[in-house]
Amino acid sequence: MEKNEAFDLEAMFDRLHNRREFLQLLGRGLGYGALATLLPACGGGSTNATDDDAPPIAPTIPKPDPEYTVLKRSSFGPHRDELASIRTLGIDAYLEQQLDHLAIDESALEAEIALRFPLTLKTPPELLAGFPDNIFDVATQMIAAAQYRQMFSRRQLFEIMVEFWSDHFNIQLVNGLGPTLKPLDDRAVIRAHALGNFRELLHASAKSTAMLFYLDNFFNQAIAPNENYARELMELHTLGVDGGYTENDVKEVARCFTGWTLRLPGDPLGDYGDYVFVQAIHDDQPKAVLGNAILGGDQSDGEQVLDILAAHPATANFIATKLCRRFIGDRPPQAAIDAVANAFTTSHGDIKNTLRALFATAAFVDSGDHKFTRPSEYLAALVRALAPDTPRVPYPPAKSQFWFYAQSILGQLPFYWPTPDGYPDLQSYWASTGGLLNRWRLSFLSFAGIIPGVDVIQVDYAAMLNGADTINGIVDAIIDAVLMRPLNGDDRALIVQWLEGELGAGADEELTTAPPELAAALIAAVLVSSAYFHLR
């Protein structure tokens, strides 16, 4: 499973709970050099929630409209321009636009990525040349690039699927030679196939040298099999743990993948990090996998196994269940799972067609608010709601470190989950006391816009307020601009009463005791702390 990595998370954000110091921290910027000793550990198999332990949810808060729900589920948070777009186009046309991701021009964003995070584009030999001194630069750039795309890419559905497959085929980045290999896996496996075909994705992952290294298959040889990859291939990548394979299948699959390895540093026969099949250490005797005879005796053994697994009904069911858990709820209805599995099978693993079937289920739109956002969605949604114009202005490179720390304290740093099962996708895992407190602290990011010089994000409350100058008017303007969904009357009244006390003004009087922008930031902090913002 994982290598033994133990980094301490230093108390860089200890003072996040103090509003003033937090803002100073935002403005100060942190040196990259400091990261070397401060890389945190995220998660770590620390919990293992069951599939079905989420309590039944009966929200008592007003349901958002279907367009909002679709955006909240197919993106890293509603952006006001995209909300306008989906309301104009209609849900189906909007999703088709997102599915045709290559037609959305992102050359400007990718140019920014190349400029700001160049190590994410390097080859294994290039990265090996700087290894191990470059480990932390590679890690921070990989993480920052993932966050940057989640926040600012207009290919939002594509980025959602990139995160989904990054979890499904999880590889811990800082893990032995991982920093020299994972950037290629991210480009050539995950991003290349995220909206492609599952069979091709699976084959690419099996020959991904980052995966061969992470799950020890590069050790796997006829005289001494290593079962790690074989087991996770069936348990996590394809069939699922209840997919009907036996312990003997694990051993047989391990034999099939003997000799699948990578060119190690110094190998004169090829470039470092290339996939290579070594016949001499391959077990060429016949094998039997899931009742199928495997007789090739060469690289075709493993390829045949991948084809058997990709086409197996248990794989269709497992992938469909995970997709429905992602897009619908922790306990998705069986009818939805069946429809998605059927589309997966009949399309031979075409990911777009599988998603179309999911989007066509009644549950997809009807079950709004049944999911608890994960930290990546929460964090990106904060930026997308509070600072919708940020993608249009230069993203300060030094400030990407802020997002790194923010996501690390929330426990979902990209590529940092240590075990091969990927970050959990269940409310029971994420809605913990500690997790909520850290989200509440980050809600004070809403103040960034009113402190001169703090430009991690730029919050333009004047534009949101549009002249509103009473507490009632300001509350409604901020609900509309930041939350983009209705509040129930009691909750709204509560916020108004609190502001009346805090600001010493009546709800319908022109506010003179504080700038409207300060009231706006207070309201925003409460709104993004509330259940309204964290559900999707």
Partner: protein
């Protein structure tokens, strides 16, 4: 501490209960190289180059019994063993026959051996059976970012990874923001439970001032995730907060390759962390806050194969080792009905160390003798016993 029944009055929890610290070794920790069955020649045949050498004799500090010896990295635990406050249960586990980490951890945390059965955790169910001593949010806590399945079923267990950093500072408290939050998370809001527990815990933690509680008796914790978590567990236990159960994870035990190197690091971290905790909490006889009132349980999801694999590691197996520490432990012994290490190539199950002491036996005894009693039918449904391994004092 060899005599039974030395329970003193703890200021905050009922007198018939110990505080339980549960440490889960994630990744399937190897037992055979931790507590070495050096009397069994098959151990050396099967483990070959990764085997741990036998002790030189009863004078060797690693020597435990004529059958077993400690891995050198576990030597910090030797004085605790010699003081009869540490028992080692060998060839133990829950007989679930699963070799997936994720599924096996789930089953062991639920206390079941089949996928069917309750989805809550064994410890959560025990806590639900036994009435809380107060309305504090601090009855059950995981020192991590997330509530483990083990505690599922208890009322709002806390999950806090950095206790001294949990809360808002004064200017935010003064703004009324937490009160507004509390009012917004009214009944019916999907995650009102943990939200309100978080707000309650903030207030209690502020009053408890954990930062002022420093290690006693010269205890020095390793600067590792486990050491840091146990340090915080000790702060909680020594504070006024009525904590009854603390869950902690120890990560990184999945040693498929280079086991001798990696397990030495993992065992050293475990031993130094446990020793620091033991010293810090202290003998405490009569004070009500010492190790007489604290029981530590260390366990894992399953063990490793008997034989080494092709990369000087071990693949997934069955039985492993559990550690029991505290004044209520019948310590100074290795509890084991040794199954032997003979591998029959025609019987796949013989590749693994077999379970001869059901982990549920040990935990049932722990709950009955040290945590005020339990209903084993609820905590471990379908488990027929035995219900004691003579591992604890009544």
């Amino acid at each position: 501490m060899t005599t039974a029944n030395k329970i003193a009055a703890h200021p905050t929890i009922p007198g018939d209960r110990d505080i339980l610290v549960c440490i889960f070794q994630r990744g399937a920790a190897d037992g055979l190289n931790a507590v070495v069955p050096y009397f069994d020649g098959d151990y050396y045949t099967q483990r070959g180059s990764i085997a741990v050498v036998a002790p030189t004799g009863s004078g060797d500090p690693r020597y435990l019994t004529p059958e077993y010896a400690l891995h050198p990295a576990l030597l910090p635990l030797k004085p605790i063993f010699d003081g009869n406050d540490l028992a080692l249960v060998h060839a133990t586990g829950m007989p679930h026959q699963i070799r997936s980490h994720f599924s096996a951890q789930n089953l062991v945390e639920r206390g079941v051996v089949e996928k069917t059965g309750p989805i809550t955790g064994w410890l959560g169910r025990h806590l639900a059976l036994s009435p809380p001593a107060s309305s504090s949010a601090f009855r059950a806590i995981s020192i991590s970012g997330n509530v483990p399945v083990t505690l599922s079923g208890a009322v709002e267990p806390l999950a806090i990874d950095k206790l001294d950093d949990f809360g808002f500072e004064q200017d935010i408290l003064d703004s009324g923001y937490p009160q507004v939050l509390a009012n917004l998370f009214h009944g019916g809001v999907p995650f009102a439970g943990p939200a309100n527990a978080a707000l309650a815990a903030m207030g209690e933690l502020q009053a408890a001032d954990l930062a002022s509680i420093t290690p006693d008796n010269g205890a020095v914790y390793p600067n590792s995730p486990l050491g840091t978590r146990l340090l915080q567990a000790a702060q909680l236990i020594k504070s006024v907060l009525p904590v009854e159960v603390v869950c902690i994870d120890s990560d990184g035990w999945d040693h498929h390759e280079s086991l001798p190197t990696y397990i030495a690091l993992s065992l050293s971290d475990l031993a130094l962390s446990l020793k620091a905790f033991y010293d810090d909490i202290g003998a405490g006889l009569g004070t009500g806050t010492g190790m007489d009132r604290v029981t530590v349980l260390v366990y894992t999801e399953f063990g490793r194969r008997i034989a080494k694999n092709g990369s000087d590691g071990t693949d997934h197996g069955t039985a492993s080792l559990a550690y029991l520490m505290g004044g209520g432990v019948n310590g100074g012994q290795v509890i084991s009905d040794w199954p032997g290490l003979v591998i029959d190539p025609d019987i796949p199950a013989t590749e693994d160390l077999q379970i001869t002491t059901d982990l549920r036996t040990v935990i049932t005894e722990l709950l009955n003798k040290r945590l005020g009693g339990t209903d084993v039918g609820m905590v471990f449904p379908g488990f027929a016993g035995p219900h004691s391994a003579d591992a604890f004092w009544p």
